[in-house]
Amino acid sequence: MHGNTSSSHSGVSHSGSGALSHVYIQYPPLRCTISGSTGLFYDDGNKLLISPTSEQVFSWKTVPYSPLVAPTSDSICEGPIMSIRYSLDAKILAIQRSNFEIEFRNRETGETFSQKCRSETESILGFFWTDCPICDIVFVKTSGLDFLAYDSESKALFLVDTRKFNVTWYVYTHESRLLLLASGMQCKSFTGFQLSSAGIIRLPKFEMIMAKSDANSKPVLAAEDVHIVTVYGRIYCLQVDRVAMLLHMYRFYRDAVVPQGSLPIYSSKIALSVVDNVLLVHQVDAKVVILYDIFADSRAPISAPLPLLLRGLPRPKTLSRSNSQETETLEANNVSDHEATIYGDGWTFLVPDLICDTATGFVWKIHLDLEASSIAISASSSEVPLMLEFLQRRKLEAAKAKQLCLAICRALILEHRPISMVARALDVLVQSYSHSIKTGSYFKGIKAGDHPHSGLQQESSPATVAGESTRRVDAYGKSIKNESGTGVGSQISTRPSDFSTSDSEEDNEFQPQKIRFMDLSEKGGKKVGENPLGAETSGFDTQPSPPKSQMVGRSNSPLDSHASELLGVQATSAAISPAEMYSFVFAPVEEEMTGDPGYLVGIIVEFLRSANVEKIKVPPNLYVLTVQVLARSERYAELGLFVINKNEAVDVQIIEPSKEVALQLLESGRKNLQTRKLGLDMLRHLSLHHDYVLLLVQDGYYLEALRYARKNKVNTFRPALFLEAAVASGDLEHLAAVLRFFSDFIPGFRNTSDHSTYCRILNEMSSAIAI
């Protein structure tokens, strides 16, 4: 039974996160199917998928991607269509009708006109709209380039500029604005232009590398073997060398094209996608995908090749049980027909992250499974810092990446990893945050109300600060109790086998039921046999099976929902502020950790070191936590070292002074006078006169308090406070001194009831002594 539980548990984690794939496509697809369609075209300038019929053209927006998007349509004239693109302002539809002619149609007026080649010797290879200042559209012809501008007055195109080259074929992506023109016998000589809004940049001519199978053969480079790829805002060209089975990489600079090494390939057909700046190399023949994070110098893949998964596929009726009634039979059947077509022949890869299945008209968006890929990184290199770096670079699912980073951090600390390793991990996070602050990306995604510091700036009441750290009201004022304990922290481990997360949220977005045919079949007989529907249906499982419900609980305490709930809006950066580090790492970890406070202090010290290097301010509650941890383990001497480091004109404390810290020192100092004094000194140092005076009185130093109050002009206290203290001490002289003090320094004190009351007490006391 026990074995059962564990095996099914690992099953959950696998099926949940798709641990066998770090890249997946999500069912349902965008269906670009129209009866009578004559083909599918991708307009990458407008990110439209276009399907023309004989008299109409339908277009689907792919950004933002939604399977439910409805097509828009335009009517067109009948005729052959070689290529079709809307102008960037979407006013004109351009259709290449033949090698010599392009037809333009004004969408508002319906007027059309044509542009033809001037000579018979040249033919049009293609065209694209551009936002570069001198022209609106570029024709790529075998004889060179024509730059044309559209004049809305005359409703005609006129030639702005022309460049003469021999062009065999060309590659262009709107994303990079880069145009590569191939020429030469082997088509490996390139001329490049970048037509950006800043103007036209001509790149130096360069040659691509082609291996020869033997001395005489001269392979010819084909257009489909050259890919322009944009990652991290950098433009690369990747060229497939079929002979060497290598993917050569070139990076474009304004004045140079620099080879960047090569990646091995395992399939003669290669396709490339970019998801969130991660390069996906589809080995189409092998039906696997390899991920690269082309950021650092390393050209090592993120992970071993793994298949592309289709997720969220409804289970066909034949395989489902009682709860399958809700599944639409028709759709299930429909899908099961195409379910096996992953890396099918009809697949066309669109820049940057779309797949169009020309056979079915389905358009899929490729998703990256951050959890799975980060596990893959850690599994392949066992380098947690590398994994964090990877996650920190993710923009698409920044909130999720952030949650993962936090979870990884917690796990590192809870697992007592060597301090040096945790330190490097913290360095990564702090540097990333520092960078995001400098570039401003950290604040971009965060609305004013959700500003991470806004919560922290609330003046904490003494009780809150002095109290237990368990009262963790996070920066957003929400309770985060879900998150501790068996929550994400313990769930996510840096060991792949322990990884159990769920993508159920994503599934739920699109379909109410979590029945996955794919996963089941992938799992093989073992699991299915034991527990036919297993965890796939766990969300709706009515069987009261205790171990399973526990699993459900675990797999359902999710990263995603937290991400949205806790971090509010989708952050555009995965950067983690020190305040968040406190709320989501140090505070929860401190609560969970048992024993070895020295280790936690060590981690905090490393964090402070990182923050200090990057000149980042650390929230006071982290210092408060440090004081708590040190005091709880009675390391008062060390606490002293943290708080003061012999005063010499400048403050050199590791723990920066703040009221919160001072109050914590006073609280912790109940058992240790020296620590209490540190708190008092800090209050005075911060010129928190009122608190300082009150505490002095509380400790019985009322005369000192009076002197201090007078010197610093503190007049926010009641005289009775001091008078009471003096009476309590039973010292006649002191009481007289205090009375005198107030009589002298507070105008009108002699007329108050305090004065008369305490004068009487004084007289009684003195007469008592006289007797």
């Binding site: 040096s420 202090v601 060590g602 490393e606 070191r609 200090n612 012999k646 004109a649 404390q653 140092h685």
Partner: protein, 512 residues
């Protein structure tokens, strides 16, 4: 120093340690004596000194059972008492002689007694437990003898013992001197501390880091910190190692250690070697080796790997070659290995519980290897950082001031560097010494009256030479200063103190 050479060492000072629980029967009086200096005094004289002391203790205990007498000031001698352990007393008798500058502050002398006892306990454990284990007391006596003689040798100037006198009034024995470091360096140091402590794996070890003769970091209890710091300054710090002489000794140490001392120490070592290994009954006692004559000079040297090595007494035949000495920590009441590493100016002392290291020396060499592997880089970095920030010998000199700053809460003191103190006139120093004596008295009384209320105190004296001699006590912190060539008004003196307080003491001594 222009001292009369007519006086022999034997006549200036007597020091004895005795146990009131021993020798209570007639004829066994000698049994009380655990240590007597000078040792060559006839037993009758020794007994009469101890008898007088014992009588005084017994008498004063009638009135004050908790704290018997502290000092007797006779016309020509001062007797300074210190109860080191219950019923184990140390008494120092010094001759007063104005011409010879033999003007003492009794608290300073008591601090000497306290220090030697604390150090002894650090290496051998409490005297009482030694005596309990070995009722004859032979081993205890020989250990005390060699240890105290070694300790006293630090005070030898020529053939004369020179104890802390009024000239040392701007010094506080029994406190730690700390290095001021930047926040960045402080974080680096703390980071190093954690790495060091993680080297011992799961076992809890403590560390103490020093830069030259100054403390940088400690994770020991305050008392243990003082003891280990004192010892490290005396024998382990780079200065102490290289010169073979104490850099910290208040007075310049003479090169000639008296023949008698050397001879005796040599003798005692063989004694202790014979008996060692059987004296300690704590678990794993058979592995507890002491430094042979821990206070002897030139006992430590720096090994090739940067670790400091010493001779260790009581190597057992069966065990592997043992090289790591152990000390006794008061707070935790356990024996720990003392493992010291030195990189240039930085001395790092790691203390690992003996019980936690299963296979003794092998475990220690593993630990050392761990330190070298994991912490080397950090150590170098910290050393470099501290060296850069270090202001040199006179870093804590404040021109115009001669001061002593004591923080009793943290057992930390800072003072004008000794070289600068010597520029003061004798008159100023005498006044300060006297003033400190007053403050000592005042503090003692205040403590007696209300131990929970710390007294505030300020005294300004215009000395005969027109110097201002000032003492200010405020909530556990004390500031003493001498202002020579200062303006004559009290206001000026008070302002000077205020300025100093604001600038260097966070305003702790500012007159509120």
């Amino acid at each position: 120093m222009g001292m009369s050479s007519a006086v022999t060492s034997n006549e200036t000072m007597q020091l004895c340690v005795f146990d009131l629980r021993r020798g209570q029967h007639e004829g066994q009086e000698l049994d009380k004596i655990l240590f007597f200096y000078p040792a060559d005094l006839p037993f009758s004289t020794q007994l009469s000194v101890i008898g007088l002391s014992e009588g005084l203790i017994t008498f004063t205990r009638i009135f004050s059972p908790e704290a018997a007498c502290e000092v007797i000031d006779a016309e020509r001698h001062s007797h300074v008492f210190y109860q080191a352990e219950p019923d184990i007393w140390m008494v120092m008798i010094v001759e007063k002689n104005k011409e010879l500058e033999a003007i003492w502050r009794s608290d300073a002398l008591r601090e000497v007694l306290k220090e030697v006892h604390s150090l002894f306990v650090m290496f051998y454990g409490p005297i009482r437990s030694l005596l309990e284990k070995e009722p004859g007391g032979g081993l205890s006596r020989s250990r005390l003898y060699s240890f105290i003689m070694d300790y006293l040798s630090d005070f030898l100037v020529g053939k004369r013992l020179q104890l802390p006198s009024f000239r040392d009034c701007l010094r506080e024995r029994g406190s730690v001197q700390m290095l001021t470091i930047s926040r960045e360096a402080a974080i680096e140091v703390q980071s190093l501390v954690r790495v060091l402590e993680s080297c011992s794996g799961s076992t809890q070890c403590c560390s103490l880091i020093m830069f030259q003769d100054l403390l940088v970091s400690t994770t020991l209890s305050p008392d243990d910190t003082i003891n280990l710091f004192t010892y490290a300054v005396m024998r382990l710090a780079p200065n102490a190692l290289s010169s073979g002489a104490s850099s910290w000794s208040y007075l310049r140490k003479g090169n000639t250690v008296s023949q008698a001392v050397t001879a005796f120490v040599g003798n005692s070592r063989s004694v202790s070697e014979q008996i060692s290994g059987s004296h300690d009954t704590s678990p794993g006692a058979d592995r507890n080796y002491n430094v042979a004559g821990p206070l002897q000079h030139d006992k430590w040297s720096k090994g090739k790997d940067g670790f400091l090595v010493t001779d260790v007494s009581g190597v057992e035949v069966s065990s592997l070659i043992s090289a790591t000495p152990t000390i006794w920590l008061q707070q935790k009441e356990e024996r720990v290995y003392l493992c010291a590493y030195q990189h240039r100016n930085l001395t790092i002392i790691l203390l690992v519980p003996v019980n936690s290291i299963v296979n003794g020396e092998q475990g220690m060499s593993l630990l050392k290897q761990q330190v070298l592997e994991n912490a080397s880089l950090k150590i170098f970095k910290v050393e470099e950082k501290l060296s850069k920030g270090w202001g040199g010998e006179n870093a804590y000199h404040v021109s115009g001031y001669r001061y002593l700053l004591v923080d009793h809460d943290r057992n930390v003191s800072r003072a004008t560097p000794p070289g600068k103190v010597t520029t003061l006139a004798k008159e100023s120093l005498l006044s300060m010494s006297k003033l400190r004596e007053e403050v000592d008295l005042e503090k003692g009384q205040a403590k007696w009256e209300d131990p929970n209320h710390e007294k505030e105190l300020e005294i300004c004296i215009r000395a005969k030479n027109n110097a201002w001699v000032i003492a200010r006590v405020s909530r556990g912190k004390e500031l003493y200063m001498v202002l020579e060539k200062a303006n004559e008004t009290l206001l000026y003196a008070s302002d000077a103190l205020e300025k100093f307080s604001n600038r260097y003491c966070n305003g702790v001594f500012s007159l509120d």
